[in-house]
Amino acid sequence: MSGPHSIDIDYVAQLARLELTAKERERFSGQLGDILQHFAQLNEVDVSGVEPMAHAFPVENVFREDKSEPGLPPEKALENAPRKRNNMVLVPKVVEG
């Protein structure tokens, strides 16, 4: 791990599956460093005993009943696919793993 306000931009870009240009890498590193520095203010607060808030309006037990309804016809489902064959999405060869 590098300094407290820097970001391992290559690792994160790899996680995010984003190809960055050298310029972008440099610019983002700087900008995100500033932003992280700003985030450091969060350490001022004592958060012990505080329940994290994942939802803006807490509701519980929202379900749907197990009834099936027709979905999309295959042609409609693949309407926006960049490439398709035999009603399936065609992608470059996926290497297992």
């Binding site: 994942a54 519980e60 197990d66 309804e69 979905g71 399936m88 999405v89 470059p92 060869k93 996926v94």
Partner: protein, 484 residues
């Protein structure tokens, strides 16, 4: 040096539902590609998931059947990773609050022979969590095709502790798990349809050593015997590496069933940083006491508990229970018959040895059988009451019952198969047979007790099987003794 293997299993089972886990399109197998999708399944921009209540309830039931602890609140998390079969490039799963924590599974190892019960063990479980399935990839020469029919199918991932040591234990674990889930009516566990899939973690260590060895994960173990064979191969491979002075690396390997060997898929360094976080689109589920109690009340008796009860309550031998127990429908059939039969054990015998045989020959399932439990019970009772001989029941009555669904009593009457009522008449016939076979009589008298069976056969033939075997033996003995 002696080596010991340590095995843990991760099993994904498809929870039995009509619709997908987060939307209402139906689940299915073998449908036309991409015909079981909707905007939610495809992860189109703007869609939102809503959890299927049935998937949650059935998963809680599994947790209860596995003696796991069911939390008061369970929630949904996103597991982020990119793969072409994943519609959203994250999987909705459960991270820190799974629907079931801990638990155990009772397994039975293979006995020394088919007639003898094997050792029972309890395998500790880590957790079980509910998640969505991904789509399916079909690999072509240069390209791959993606079918999202399977995406969004509810899966329960059941993770064991590294608590097994042999491929046989892993085999027994999967067999027991499958049986339990079928009992709970929570999954069909059909491995051929991908309804039960298994990954294994395996390491080896010198016997007696506490510290675990280097862990290898094996994927694509697509059948219960595939798990056994894959593990056997991999354990041997690891031992050979160590014996040869080599070192093992943490890696993921695939199982090639055709070649009978495992192969390298990826190493630890390439493993994922999943960036789990609570799914903001889904609300937590609170499992209150009333809900728990209702589900608990709906749980079935577990397979091995039932087996023990069959030993105690009906004095069934292991061999019969080992046929009945894996099939809850068959058990139900048996218990219905047992309720009415004077000798429940005989009812089990008829079901296992005769009914199943005939059904098999006719290519029928139990539910298609014209013979119902009441008829089996009646047949057992007719024999027990001495109305008909076991032999005639087997050769004449049962086949007719099977074919027509007629009551055994009616068949006995219609075909006049009942045992001869008159003791006088039977004594007369026996007497004639004894007279007619002086050589056999002499043989019996000289000590060859078994020779009397020849005479019994003669009597049965003369009465066309209607003689009560319980009477024939003593009568013949008495008449021979008079000769002596």
């Amino acid at each position: 040096m002696e080596y010991e293997a340590v095995i843990g299993l991760e099993v994904h089972v498809q929870v039995k539902t009509e619709s997908k886990i987060f939307s209402s399109v139906g689940v299915g197998f073998g449908a036309q590609p991409n015909s079981l999708t909707d905007p939610v399944v495809l992860g189109l921009p703007g869609v939102l998931p809503v959890i299927n209540r049935e998937a949650v309830e059935k998963s809680i039931k599994v947790g209860m059947l596995l003696n796991g602890s069911i939390p008061r609140v369970t929630k949904w998390d996103r597991k982020n990773y990119f793969y072409p079969d994943s519609p959203k490039n994250y999987q909705i799963s459960q991270f820190d609050r799974p629907i079931c924590s801990g638990g155990e599974l009772e397994i039975e190892l293979k006995g020394p022979s088919r007639n003898v019960m094997g050792e029972h063990k309890t395998i500790a479980l880590t957790r079980a969590h509910l998640e969505e399935d991904v789509g399916k990839l079909i690999h072509l020469e240069q390209e791959s095709l993606v079918d999202f029919n399977r995406a969004g199918t509810p899966l329960l991932e059941i993770v064991s502790e590294p608590d097994m040591h042999t491929p046989e234990e892993a085999y027994a674990y999967l067999t027991a798990l499958k049986m339990l889930l079928i009992y709970g009516e929570v999954s069909h566990c059909d491995m051929e349809k991908g309804q039960m899939r298994c990954d294994a973690n395996v390491s080896v260590r010198p016997a007696g050593q506490k510290k675990l060895g280097v862990k290898v994960e094996i994927k694509n173990l697509n059948s219960i015997s595939g798990v056994r064979n894959g593990l056997a191969y991999e354990i041997e491979r690891q031992i050979q590496v160590l014996l040869g002075g080599g070192t093992l690396v943490q890696e993921t390997r695939g199982w090639d069933a055709a070649k009978g060997m495992t192969y390298h898929l990826r190493s630890k360094e390439e493993s994922h940083d999943y960036r789990y976080f609570p799914d903001p689109d889904l609300m937590p589920v609170r499992i209150d006491r009333r809900w728990r109690e209702r589900l608990r009340a709906s749980l079935p008796e577990k397979p091995f508990d039932r087996q023990r009860r069959y030993f105690d309550q009906y004095s069934l031998p292991y061999t019969l229970t080992s046929v009945l127990i894996p099939d809850p429908e068959l058990c139900h059939f048996f218990e219905e018959a047992a309720k009415r039969a004077k000798l429940p054990r005989q009812a089990a015998n008829w079901i296992v040895n005769n009914l199943l045989g005939e059904l098999g020959k006719a290519g029928l399932t139990l539910s298609e059988s014209k013979v119902n439990p009441a008829k089996i019970a009646q047949l057992v009772n007719l024999i027990e009451e001495g109305v008909i001989s076991k032999n005639l029941a087997k050769e004449r009555v049962f086949p007719e019952m099977f074919k027509t669904g007629e009551n055994p009593a009616a068949i006995v009457q219609a075909k006049d198969l009942g045992l001869s009522e008159s003791a006088e008449e039977l004594e007369k016939i026996c007497s004639e047979i004894v007279q007619a076979n002086p050589d056999t009589v002499a043989e019996v008298l000289s000590g060859n007790k078994k020779a009397i069976n020849f005479l019994k056969g003669r009597v049965m033939r003369a009465t066309r099987g209607k003689a009560n075997p319980a009477l024939v033996g003593p009568l013949l003995e008495k008449l021979i003794a008079e000769k002596g």
